[in-house]
Amino acid sequence: MMPHNNPLQYLSAEGEPLTERGGRHELPDFVNDQSLLLQAYRWMNLTRAFDQKAVALQRTGIIGTYPSSLGQEAISVACGMALAQDDVFVPYYRDHGSLLVRGNLMEHLLLYWGGDERGSAYVAKAGSALDMPICVPIATQASHAVGIASALKIQQKRQAVLCTLGDGASSKGDFLEALNLAGSWHLPVVFVINNNQWAISVPRHIQSGAPTLAQKASAAAIPSMQVDGNDFIAMYEALTEGLHRARQRKGPMLIEAISYRLSDHTTADDASRYRGQEEVDKAWKNEPIKRLQNFIFQRGYWDKKAEGCLQDDCQTQLEKSVQAYKSIEAEQPEAMFDYMYQTWPAALDDQVVTCGEKYKRNYLAAQQHSSGFNKGA
């Protein structure tokens, strides 16, 4: 494992291969795999395009509060790509890139952020049936990840579990206990801290006195490393290694991916209240897409024409997805009861009736006055 405070990095901010940083001298072999790098580059661009679109849709009230992943596309896409299909992904709410790579449809992501439970109802095409839904209560997913990893171990399966979280989440007991359990039970799970330097308005240094978040793993004697989270090559390498170890039953691992949240926390946030623009400007110089772009241009894998096509293609896909999203009608009111219990409790019979009556009452009133009732569906 890598020493701390010296993140694994292969490419400079300008996309030049580094030879003397991070303790590894040679670029990993997979950089010769043109299709893999182009796949990554495409996904990162689609993620960013999706992100911009989602922010715009929020501004016009088409979806609700949305957490942008601007600047963190390398982490998210590398997670998605390093996972094997039957590995289990346990995401947090800023993982749009991984979710897309896993084969989730953009219209379903929009559905989720548009306030519709069905956004979490579909199996990711390129993912596992066990891929977990987006988790809102911070760090709780880490406990689920160790539970799933423990189940896989008990079932003698050879899959790995990948769990993501934020730098803020690394302070919460759930995560710290989960690390300990993963270590104690030697579980096949990789944790990735997306250290984007901020937890809403709380800067990284308030979260912990520890100089690195990677060192949280030493409390559980789990190997860990810091990785430049804006360097797709470093992220992919570290994740591939971690997941491979896990599948080989070599135990858990923690990766601290160092990046920066270039956006507001969510569309409901105004980051200018608590951080200066210079900091953000500086961080833009490190952003991951340009870095990989420069590299694949240098390598001759990519050119301006391909770039143009890609951007067009992203827009076309997006348009289609937004249309698809908009065409999905809201569920019936009674749907709120349908999935509470698999075996129906008679005690709820009355409430379903009340729900229907209530809908009729309020809906009819809305029809008549088109006021006095909060429209929506």
């Binding site: 069905r118 406990s143 160790v146 539970g147 008990i154 709120m336 999935y339 698999q342 075996t343 008679a346």
Partner: protein, 340 residues
């Protein structure tokens, strides 16, 4: 595999905690996906011996001693259940269950709804609860109402060896999360015949332990012991063995209001007994239901005989908090003698 034909009658004389052990043993024998996790459940067999012998029988992979971390016990159980296991997590005492609440409320209770049925959390959280065993602080709580308020959970409390056996099997078979609370005061208080035939009892139902015509007494958990004694005594003394009806709520969430309504329509009087603090206890929900639906049938006010809105006193004075037979009898007498 839970096939009755394969399980001819097999009666055993067991205490409530032994019945729990028997049900766990049965479920683990029948279904490989059933696993257990918790503190001291392995070699030690649980501090009350509810899991005695099970690690030896089923191995460390299926009977897991965990680090001392309740949050993780619940959170890991959520993950295990999503991944196809049926985890049965033991929380050593109900007083230590609060660290699990975020996982139970935010995840276990919601996973099916959140994913519109794609994923679910069939899991059981077992915990001994209630006072009266002269234990230290935090070893006597009855906070079943906290769980009863949460949509998506089931809460089940047995009050006899046979009901412990059958209801625990039902909880394990249930496809959704069940909080299974064990009245520890009854763990070894009596021994009964239990048929170890793998037969689950119905969930979502209460049990009418005594039929009666003049008053409906509703209780659950350890208080059933005193209720039974009072009812049997009063029915005998009055020469009317159908005087007081005793309902063991058993399913604390959801509540079987049909049975309750049927009984109160018949008797017109109701006394509710629970050990938990009064305010916003489960007794409130039952009384509220009566106020909404059965007032017209009531001949006297509903009475709740409950714990006080205080911390359960340490054991030296706990008997001043716990409900005695005399307390129950006094309430019944009052209800029977008052009329609107």
């Amino acid at each position: 595999m839970n096939n009755n034909l394969e399980n001819p009658d097999c009666f055993k004389q067991v205490s409530l905690v032994e019945a729990i052990n028997m049900a766990l043993d049965y479920a683990m024998s029948q279904d490989e996906s059933v696993v257990m996790l918790g503190e001291d459940i392995g070699k030690n067999g649980g501090v009350f011996r509810a899991t005695d012998g099970l690690q030896e029988k089923f191995g460390q992979a299926r009977v897991m001693d965990t680090p001392l971390a309740e949050t993780s016990i619940a959170g890991a159980a959520v993950g295990m259940s999503v991944a196809g296991l049926k985890p049965i997590a033991e929380i050593q005492f109900m007083g230590f269950i609060y660290a699990t609440l975020e996982h139970l409320i935010c995840h276990a209770a919601r996973m099916r709804n959140r994913t519109r049925g794609r994923l679910s959390c069939p899991m059981v959280i077992r915990a001994p609860f209630g006072g009266g065993i002269h234990a230290p602080e935090h070893h006597s709580e009855s906070t079943e109402a906290l769980f009863a308020h949460i949509p998506g959970l089931r809460v089940v409390i047995p009050s006899s060896p046979a009901r412990a056996y059958g209801l625990l099997l039902a909880a394990i078979e249930n496809p959704d999360p069940v909080i299974f609370l064990e009245p520890k005061r009854l763990y070894r208080s009596e021994v009964h015949d239990v048929n170890d035939n793998g037969q689950a009892l119905p969930l979502d139902s209460c049990f009418t332990l005594r039929e009666g015509e003049e008053l409906t007494l509703i209780s659950w958990g350890a208080c059933i012991k005193e209720c039974l004694a009072v009812v049997d005594q009063m029915n005998a003394e009055s020469g009317n063995d159908k005087r007081i009806e005793l309902i063991d709520l058993a399913s604390i969430k959801p509540i079987d209001f049909a049975t309750i309504a049927h009984s109160i329509k018949k008797t017109g009087r109701c006394v509710i007994v629970h050990e938990a603090a009064k305010t916003c206890g489960v007794g409130a929900e039952i009384a509220a239901y009566i106020a909404e639906h059965l007032m017209a049938y009531c001949k006297s006010p509903v009475k709740r005989i409950t714990g006080f809105d205080t911390v359960m006193p340490y054991f030296r004075n706990e008997q001043h908090y716990l409900i005695s037979e005399l307390d129950i009898k006094a309430a019944i007498d009052e209800s029977l003698s008052s009329d609107f």
